[in-house]
Each structure stands twice: as structure tokens, then as C-alpha cells.
Amino acid sequence: MTAATNRYFGSPVLRNEDAPLLTGAAMFVDDIDFSDMLHVAFLRSPHAHARIEKIDTTATHDRDGVVAVFTADDLGAFWAPSPLVVPPPPIEDLVFNQRTQTPLARDVVRYVGEPVALVVAENRYLAEDALDRIVVDYDPLPVAAELEPSAQVDAPMVHDVRGNVAAEVRQVKGDYNLAKNNADVVIARRFLYEHGLAQPIETRGIVARWDTKAEHLSVWAATQTPTSLHGGLAQLMGLGSHQIRVVAPFVGGGFGSKLLMYYPEELMVPWAARQLGSSLKWIEDRSEHFVATSQERGQIHDAEIAVSQDGKILGLKDVFLHDNGAYNPYGLTVPINSQCAVLGPYVVPAYDSSFKAIFTNKPIVAPFRGAGRQHGVFVIERLLDIAARQLGIDRVEIRRRNLIPSDAFPYKNGIMFQDFTELQYDSGNYLPILERTLEIIGYESFVRDEQPILRAEGKCVGIGVVCYVEGTGIGPYEGAKVQVDPSGRVHVATGIGTQGQSHFTSFAQIAADLLGVAVDEVDVTTGDTDQFGWGAGTFASRGAVVAGNAVHEACSAVREKILNLAAEHFECSSQQLSIENGEVQTLDKPDQSITIGELAVLANPMRGAVKPGTEPGLQATRYFGPEAGTTASGAHAMIVEVDRETMMVKILKYVVVHDCGTPINPMVVEGQIHGGVAQGIGNAFYEKVMYDDAGQIMNATLADYLIPTSMDVPVIELDHIETPSTMNPLGIKGVGEAGAIPVAPAFAQAVEDALGIAEGGSEILEIPLSPNRLWELAEGGTQ
């Protein structure tokens, strides 16, 4: 049979989903309306840690428009700690103290914002009015707020664990002590790294509708993981999977915050809908989002690098604390990513890394774009900068000397990754990426010519260059169902959700090439469990990789069916057929053709017999499960100017060279990188969530927690290097998180350079920075 042509795969095809989004027609969760819709508001704890003595809801009962009020005491057997979403990996001697959240707090609240009651009313205004009339007697308990003090053995206990240990993990390869003994230079530093809040512009939200007669629950949720939510609700509510449909409609960004966490709201709203036999809606408001949604926060790393005189890494040691928040539903994904990311794209013969995850009286910590990798990348990149300075080697040169060479792949790292497989890099070309980055930013000439001139003019300018790798496209699997309709249109359904990643287009590109139709003749459904109920979800830069390959396999199977049926129809061999413009043609008689829509009708006959062993219709379902993830890589460089008076930092030039294997749609890939870099800039310089000693968040508005604006994000110059993945047939690597991961160390390096580290300025060992913090550092610097 003739091979499919790549007309669309690899091209910057405009998006199928844009028209509904641009005209306001696209349906987001808050756009759903039913005539019997009731509205939910949650009463949340004002204390970071307190015993609940008593909840009195009687004053709500006579309120107009109030339909019901629920507290933990109303939940019966539904009240239980929720299941663990991600179990810890099977690492030897690992300690993991599982403490998950309950649907509503009953005896103790453990963070400000933890839900204790919910009101159902005719509209949200009335529901919120009623919240004010619920009286809760709290007995405040000592608070474990700050990370390091919370890890002390005598710290206030968030649960029943001394020292608030949520987990303890050590991973070792090689012999670090030996490496240290052999080293010419050993550098030890303490690094503080905080990653902030995802803050998608659409908050979380959920609509649930219980149909009493059909005994059926429909749920629409702003979620990244509709299939997992479906499975979880079936299990916890004691329903058959056929009794629940979960739909993730258009979702306004997620970045991790909309992963299944068994958030109280995603359990309580469906539960209450069933209790009341009606339709309920809860939409998180922004103030709730700051306290009720997962966050990423801080780690404290005490790290050491052992290097030889010529700058070769002999070994790394890292001991770190990880702020886990009050519960740990998402296991160890974030700190394990940090642990793995310290190795970077470098040859590290010996590594000894251990961490403690610590419960604190703050919201849960779970992945936010990068998911802990930022913390690790900062550690290794900063250590290399300091080592280079101490050894008198150029900071770019020390990276060159340590990058994993192109002929060393697949490269095994000797420790375990978050997907429970050995951390392995499948393919890469790290040195060419670095060289290309240096060329585009003009590293040599900047350092040699421009910087001295600008400095002489009194301008405080600096440059930063860093490298990174990113494990993407992890298993376990995704699937896709592909069908040709009698109209000739193609329908692709997958289980993953989509939050702006352009799946409606990239999956359509794959289908269009294989089935000989145009991209806009392919309808893609993502995240509707009635259409496709299997899969894990959109996270860890895996949607395009894993679901994309499943779509490819399902389309290949449908292609074969089309050609076989057409061959029968024309009484020729399928070798002589091609599919183009929605028609199958015979190569020798171009005027003889049949549309794929007509073939779809033939494939589903109303009379006669379908041959044994064949299936009706032009449809196929296939699954793709990679053995392990695939590793994307890249380098970022930036030139900054610091205003010495105000300590404002202006990014003058920003360059990204990255390798995400074979891109399905380069336009989409570039968009993902732009967005990632913007979030990285936010992380480096603008976004810091602040808590006081009582565990109260101090800046819970978008006016106080600063997300970068169009004035803060520069133009990003991009280039691609393509090293296809060896882990999947399409050669794709994920790209969703790459932009966000290495920005902070590049920023720190550039600012340090601008402020004159070589002349005795201060080292920057922490993120986020701010003008205030830079001023303090500059003041405190050794002159």
C-alpha cells in the first residue's frame, strides 16, 4: 500500500480550536447552565491549624434561597481520607507517611482555606451570604509554617509525625566520598528555591448533575485529568463506571493546578448533587484559588560539587528539605523531579542525594509546570557557575567540558525517575545546542567587546547561559479511537484533557496525513469519558507524545481498513491505491475513485453479512504505552541590564535553542516555549507567595502576587535542533514545560554578571529575586 504523505505533520498549521475561542462560543465549565442549577459556596478555615470544637449551621436554615448545608458529619461513609493519586516510587529504604485530605475537615483544619462546610443555594450570592451565618468554634493549635523550623523534632506537628516527616528518600550512584577525596576543588553552598503558583487565568470549577431516574452522574470539570476523576468518583461514590460521565470542556490553562488531587470540591460537588438529585455548580473565585488550589513552594538545598582542576565534575552531593504542605496526595513527584534534575545534561560519575519532604500548615504542594525540576536545575547550574569562577574557567567552557557527548545515548543515570523507571536519556545532541545558543546571543562578542563598552558607559549589563534536560512523555499509556463518518469527516477521541495545548489541531494533523483529509475535516474530542474513557491525563509534557502516538497508531489501522475495503471494491490490490482529498483513487485509473465517507457506509452494511473476523465500520482503537519517558533538552541565554538605582532588571535579549525531537506543529511548539519562559521570568523575579508565621497568606490577589505582563516578557528568539526520540515511532519529545525550567538560573547568572560578581559582588543563591532583594544583596556584597 502506498505510504501516507506528511503534508501536515511538521507544519505550522493554524488551529482548529481558534474560531470558537475567538468568538466566545467555546464552552468553559462556568458557561454550563441548567434550568435547575443550584450553586455551591465553601466555608473555609481561617486558621492554618486548629481543632474544630463545634459547627453550628442553624442560622442558615431560614435564609431565603438556601437549599442545603453540609458538614463532615453529614457525609457518612463518604467521609474518609482520599486515596493516594501517585504512590511513591519503589526506592530502597524510602520512608513515606501517607496523609491525604478528607472531603471536608471534621476534627482538625491544617491550612488556611481548608473547607469545613458547604452551602447550596439558588445562586452564588445567596450561598456566600449564608456562609457568614455558619458559626464554627475553633481552638487554634501551634502552626508549622516555615519549612526549616517545621522540620525540627520539637516543631508543632501537622499530623501525628514527629519532625513533620512526609517522606525521606536517598538515591546514590557511584561513591561521592571518593570523588570528593580526588577533587581539586569542592564547592558547597546553600540554595533557597521557591517556585510559585500556577495561576491559570481560569480558576478551577466543577458542575455536577445527578439524574435520579437514570441513576447517572454527569460532571463537567476544569480538570487536566478527566479519566482519573471519572475512575476516582466511581470508586468513592460506589457507582459503576457506566453511571458516570466526566467531561473536561475547554479549560483555561492548568499548568498542574488542575490535576486530580481529590480536591475537596471535586468530591463534594458531585456527592451533593447526588444527595439533592439536582445540578450543582461551584466556580472557584480568585481569592479561593490562592488558598484552595495546589501550589509549588520552597526547597532548601545544601549542595556540594567536587571538580577536578580542568573543571570536570567528579561528583555531586545534595541534601534538601522540601515543603510538602498539609497533605501528600500527589506522592513524591515534585521532590523526585528535583532530585533527578540536579544531574542535568552532564556526566556526573557520583551522586549522593537525599531529601526530606516536610508537612507544613499550608496548601498542598503538587506539580506546577516544571514540577520541581526548576529547583534542581538551579542547584546544578549555580554550582557550575561558582566552580567555573573559582577555577578561572569560562562558565560556558565548564559546561562544554561536562555535557553528555552525543555518542553516549541512550544514557543511563543510575537513579530512579518519577515514572518508576531508571532515569535514562533516550537521545540528544547537547553540545550543538549550546553552541547554537552562544552563536545567536553572540556570547563571545558580548563578553569581549560589547559588555566592556557598555560598562564604560556606566551601563550595568550581564549575560547568562544555562543548559537543561527535561524528562517528558512518560507512561503509563494513552489511547485513541478514530472513526470515519459517512459524511467523510474523521473523528478522533482521546482520554486526555486539553488546556490550550492545541490538541484539536496537532492530533488532527496526524489523522489528516494518514487518512488523506484536510486538518479541518478532523474533529477531535479530548476529555469526554463517554467518547473515550481510558488514559492518564495531560501533565509532564506527555499529551502530544503519548496520545499523539496513540492517534497515529489508530489512524494507521483505519488507513489499512480503508485501503483493504477499497481494494475489494475496485477489485485491485491495495498497493495500487492512494488516499487524497478524502477519496481513494486507483493509481492507474485516476478517474475511478470512491470517497472515504462512501467506504464508511459500505463498511457498515444494513444487509448481508460482515465477514467473520472483521469489524464493521472504518474505526479503530489503539493504545500507546512508552517503556519510559523521552528526554527533551535545550539551552537558554539572556542579556540583562540592571538599573543600579531601582534594581529593576530589564531583559534585553532572550534566546532559546531547544530539542523536542520531531515537532508536530512548530507554531504550537514555539507558543509553548514563549509561555513557559514567561512563567520562568515570573518565577525568577516577580512571583513570591508570602506567608506569615501563623500560616496566613499575605498576598492573595493578582494585584499583590505579580504575574508577568506584556511589559515584563521580552521577545524570545528561538531555534530548534531535532534529535528524534527513540522511545516512540513519531520521534516526538514533550515541550510543555521546557520553557519554564531553566529561566531562573540564567537570570541569576546574568544579574550576577551585571552587578559585577567578578569584581567582588554577591553570589545569588536564591529564587525568587525582586528589586528589594537585589538591593539587599548588593548592599551586603563583599566590596
Partner: protein, 162 residues
């Protein structure tokens, strides 16, 4: 006790509406839930993100910062009013599609409305002016680069035709 209700009449996308509402009803909720025009999005309800931006008498306004009675007697335009009746996209919408100026699309309606008013005032806007005009609208997906590109394209297309 419910507050006293008030009657509001307003023209939205050229259509007259007369409704009785609670005075505290936010204009964003009125447009979305009472009128069913759900293209106007709500991202923060505290006037910072710009997702809820609509035009009131042709000026960009944050619908979450207005009570519905304040719209009485005024003309409102929302994202649903941008495209032609026959579905043909407005040049701004076209440009956003051509330049990949949206990802999740949640911030987009507010940005389109802000930019519509801006281009009307600044038919020859430069990149710097565009960035400044955009700075009151938050987008968490795109990093703004393609939004700026899209607006530049729209400026050249709209400016070119006027």
C-alpha cells in the same frame, strides 16, 4: 432579606434588554448568566486580570468592577458582537488566529475587546504602544509575544484599510 430590585435597560451587541435585577449583581454575572453571553470571561473578580473586559459606550471597562444598574442606559459590546452575522471573523480575531495569539483562549475575549478600542484610538500603534496597552490584561499561556504580533498584524490590516 433580598435587596430591592431595580430595572435595567441596556443595549448589548445592538440588542435591547430590559431586566429586573438585584442592585449588587455584577455586570459580568449579568452578561454571562442573565443574558447568556458567556464569551466574556471572569478570571479574578477584582479588576486585575482584564479577562472580563467589555466595551461600554465604546470604552473598555472591566465588567467585574461594575454593578449591573450602572449599565442602565448604556451600550455594551462583548466578544460575541465582534464577528459578522455571517460568521466572518473581525480582522482582530483573524490576526489572532494567523499569529497563534491564543492558547487556552480564556484571556482572549478581554484582550480582543481591549485591543478593539485601542486600535480605534491608535490606528498606527507601534509595538511599544501595543505592549503598554496590553499590560492591563494578563495571559498565563502565551508569554504575550504572539499576542503582540497579532495586534501588529491587525493594526496593519485595519489601519491599511481605513
Amino acid at each position: 432579606m433580598l435587596e430591592e430590585l431595580v430595572t435595567v435597560s441596556t443595549v448589548v451587541n445592538g440588542k435591547h434588554y430590559r431586566r429586573v435585577v438585584e442592585p449588587r449583581l455584577l455586570l459580568s454575572d449579568f452578561i454571562r448568566h442573565d443574558l447568556g453571553l458567556t464569551g466574556t470571561h471572569v478570571g479574578c473578580e477584582h479588576g486585575v486580570c482584564g479577562a472580563c473586559t467589555i466595551l461600554v459606550d465604546e470604552k473598555p471597562v472591566r465588567a467585574c468592577l461594575m454593578f449591573t444598574p450602572q449599565a442602565d442606559g448604556h451600550a455594551i459590546e462583548t466578544v460575541e458582537g465582534l464577528a459578522e452575522e455571517n460568521g466572518e471573523l473581525h480582522p482582530l480575531q483573524e490576526a489572532f488566529r494567523d499569529k497563534h495569539g491564543l492558547q487556552c483562549g480564556f484571556c482572549t475575549p478581554g484582550i480582543l475587546m481591549t485591543m478593539k478600542a485601542f486600535i480605534a484610538q491608535h490606528p498606527k500603534a507601534t509595538e511599544g504602544e501595543i505592549r503598554e496597552a496590553l499590560s492591563g490584561n494578563l495571559c498565563r499561556c502565551t508569554g504575550y509575544q504572539n499576542i503582540v504580533e497579532a495586534v501588529r498584524l491587525a493594526v496593519s490590516r485595519i489601519g491599511g484599510s481605513s
